[in-house]
Amino acid sequence: MKSDNMSNLIKNGAIWGFIVLELIFFQIAGEFWSLSERAFMDLDNMLLLLKQSAPIGIIAVGMTVIMINGNIDLSVGAIYALCAIVMLDSMSWPFMESLGDWAIPLAWLFALLTGAVLGLINGIIVWKTGVDAFIVTLGSMLGYRGLVFMYNGENPTYHLNWTMVDIAEWDIFGVETPALVFLVVALIVWFVMTRTVHGRNAYAVGNNREAAVNAAIRVGPHMLINFVLIGFLAALSAVTFYSGSGSVNPNDGMLFELWAITAVVLGGTKLIGGAGSIVGTFGGVIAIQLLRKGLGHIGADTATVNLVIGLILIAVLFLDRQLNVKGKEELKV
């Protein structure tokens, strides 16, 4: 039992150890290679990092729940873009314009509703057809992205409202709105996953679906709720980001699903479901953002950043596998 706790500690702590390692590395490497005068581990820099990790972070929180369930959602990037368009475009509808600044909360509401409904559609299809979530959301990813392009062709959709920008850049103690939303969302979902019946059932469903069915957990509706949740969170992510930027390209949010999944997996959630944590995902999101920022800090270009992140992901999963092997006498598979 003791060694069990020990290896759990290593596994859960690994991502934080990795983050510390990154910090030290970039701090030192920055001294030699960085073009900027500022140190890497600087409070403003770290706050900026938190803000920049928010869009993917908020989605990754939802993805954690979906993946603990044993599902996956590939359509989040498309939902993100579509909700952004709904939000920005709705601001220029005649009746909305007549509302003045009161149009802002309404536009947010439209976007969040859109996200929830798109998630609901995914959830209903997964529940009622029994088709694997991977396939269903692969389809809806293409479908939703199609809707994005139908809306405004290849052209960007934009609407700049300074009140909205102010809200998006509002801060307490330097923590700006997007970072704040990310933290609050992570906190709430963490609470749901560890303390509520719905959260605990999510683990049971992913871990042993048959057991969950036998225990009279209604698996279909349960999954439906989680798909609505991730749709809503993808919309929330779009709301926090585009309130500040005011302009959305039809290609925005592409590959977001993969970044979110990467962060979730780095954070220790199993691809087959049943295990994982929001805290781990939070660590995973931060680790990726640190890596991007840090490599940028020492002058690497985006292509190099992606290559390194890819290699590290594989290395981490390999390490995880090694940690799970209990010894030489273990049964070989």
């Binding site: 039992m1 069990d4 509520t196 019946v197 683990y203 049971a204 225990a215 049943g274 006498e329 049964l331």
Partner: protein
């Protein structure tokens, strides 16, 4: 019998699947405070009946009556709400969750806002665990428990609700004798509270120890109900299979050949230590011991699934290292694994493909797999082993346990092994097919195979073995010949009492 109201009554249940009449007018009455055994060969319709009762299947005809009220079961939720609890044979647990969460899965105690009431959950669970007298607590992660303890968690579920009827489906399949005693106490306790208990098992000694009445199914048909006190094993067996069962000790010995495999001082961590034995061609050596005695682990080591930490393996007098199953197969060692469905078969594949799986790489015509050669192999072993299947296209998952086991054995025989290791060859197999498998094992030895049988069932090892190796806590306590072995000295050896000299 008539003065009590039955807690549960099934009347004329009919359930058909395409091509099969799985249940044909089955009726069953479960009285409060009785333990009612449900017996039948695999494929007799027991599990189908349970699924109908649990609302997973809807019956085509007939009625389910709970407390004299006809009901329609729409699913496990409704069955539970009506006080009918199932203890599943195949563990139905979420291994990443705690014991408490598993026991109360689907009905975690709640506070406001859907929050889990952890204090209540833990208190309730510990109360139940105390009754079960187990060595773990509410917070233990289920995945870290042994299979036997996991089974106890499954059993603990029956104690969470005010059950009217509890259905145990082979609850003792992986329990040790000490744990069985606890289980039987739990059953007696439930019984005294007036709960009706349906008990499905293949183990006769348990049935006769704890049940009041026995109902028998054969081929989906109800064969009748008898009072346990008024019948005996032979009578029940006859009802189940329509013929008698042979429980004698193995008397015949075949011509023994050379030593096929010898093991000297083999150890594997703390799983087993200093194990030495030899098996000759034409000989069946039985490994008997409690769950966790290290028998399966030895088999797995010989098959290259585990690396030994010390000791040597000799085949035909030559020292060999077996690093992987591929090595083992190349040297003529075959393992029929304990978990037939999980480790021995690809359930979704057809009979032929399962049988030729290890050698399909060699059965080629040009770049393609040769259908003809595969079918030829399948036909040969189907006839040899008397595998009853409509044809090679049949999906293995649809066969009965006995026939599935024969497919696995056929698969390895077709590789022409020298040493055949069979781990729990008749687990979950009905009585009729059991003796067929036993005869098959004897026959194989007669043909010159060296056979190792790992088993937890005493009648089985007694029946098939020329010699019996008794193991206790990872050590060989004693090796018996079939002449000197008795039930008593064998039990003593595997419990670590006396036994004395190691052979």
């Amino acid at each position: 019998m008539t003065e009590k109201t039955p807690v549960l009554r099934l009347e004329g249940i009919v359930k058909t699947f395409p091509g099969v009449r799985a249940l044909d007018g089955v009726s069953l009455t479960l009285l409060p405070g009785e333990v009612h055994a449900l017996m039948g060969e695999n494929g007799a319709g027991k599990s189908t009946l349970m699924k109908v009762l649990g609302g997973i299947y809807q019956p085509d005809e007939g009625q389910i009556i709970v407390d004299e009220q006809p009901v329609v079961m729409s699913g496990p939720l409704e069955a539970k709400a009506k006080g009918i609890v199932f203890i599943h044979q195949e563990l139905s647990l979420a291994t990443e969750l705690s014991v408490a969460e598993n026991i109360y899965l689907g009905e975690l105690p709640r506070k406001r806002f859907g929050l889990v009431d952890w204090a209540q959950l833990e208190a309730n669970t510990n109360k139940i665990l105390k009754k079960l007298n187990v060595g773990f607590n509410a917070k233990t992660r289920v995945g870290s428990l042994s299979i036997a303890n996991q089974q106890m968690v499954e059993i603990a579920r029956a104690l969470t609700v005010d059950a009217k009827a509890v259905i145990f489906d082979e609850p003792t399949a992986s329990l040790t004798d000490a744990e069985k005693v606890v289980l039987f106490e739990v059953i007696a306790d439930l019984q005294s509270q007036g709960v009706g208990i349906a008990y499905i098992s293949h183990r006769m000694e348990e049935i006769f120890k704890i049940t009041d009445r026995i109902s028998v199914l054969r081929d989906g048909q109800y064969q009748g109900t008898v009072n346990t006190a008024e019948t005996d094993e032979e009578g029940v067996t006859q009802m189940m299979i329509g013929r008698k069962l042979d429980l004698s000790r193995n008397e015949s010995h075949h011509e023994l050949g050379e030593v096929a495999i010898e093991v000297r001082g083999l150890s594997c961590g703390n799983l087993y230590e200093d194990v030495s034995f030899e098996v000759r061609r034409g000989e069946v050596v039985g490994f008997y011991g409690l769950v966790g005695a290290g028998r399966t682990e030895i088999a797995e080591t010989l098959f290259g699934l585990r690396n030994p930490s010390a000791g040597t393996i000799l085949m035909d007098g030559e020292e060999v290292t077996i690093q992987s199953p591929a090595d083992a197969i190349a040297r003529g060692i075959s393992l029929v694994p304990e978990d037939r469905k999980g480790q021995g078969l690809v359930l979704g594949m057809n009979c032929r493909d399962n049988m030729t799986l290890p050698q399909v790489g060699d059965l080629t015509a040009g770049p393609f797999v040769s259908d003809g050669a595969e079918v030829a192999i399948f036909d040969q072993y189907r006839d040899k082993l008397d595998i009853r299947t409509p044809g090679w296209r049949q999906t293995v998952g649809n066969l009965s346990g006995g026939n599935q086991q024969k497919i696995v054995i056929g698969k390895w025989l077709s590789m022409h092994p020298n040493v055949l290791i069979v781990d729990e060859p008749t687990r979950g197999i009905d009585v009729g097919s059991k003796s067929e498998i036993h005869n098959l094992i004897r026959e194989l030895a007669a043909q010159g195979y060296a056979v190792i049988v790992v088993s937890s069932e005493m009648p089985e090892v007694l029946h098939v073995s020329d010699r019996i190796v008794a193991m206790y806590m990872g050590r060989i306590i004693r090796t018996f010949t079939s002449e000197e072995v008795t039930e008593d000295n064998l039990i003593q050896a595997i419990s670590g009492i006396g036994g004395g000299k190691a052979a």
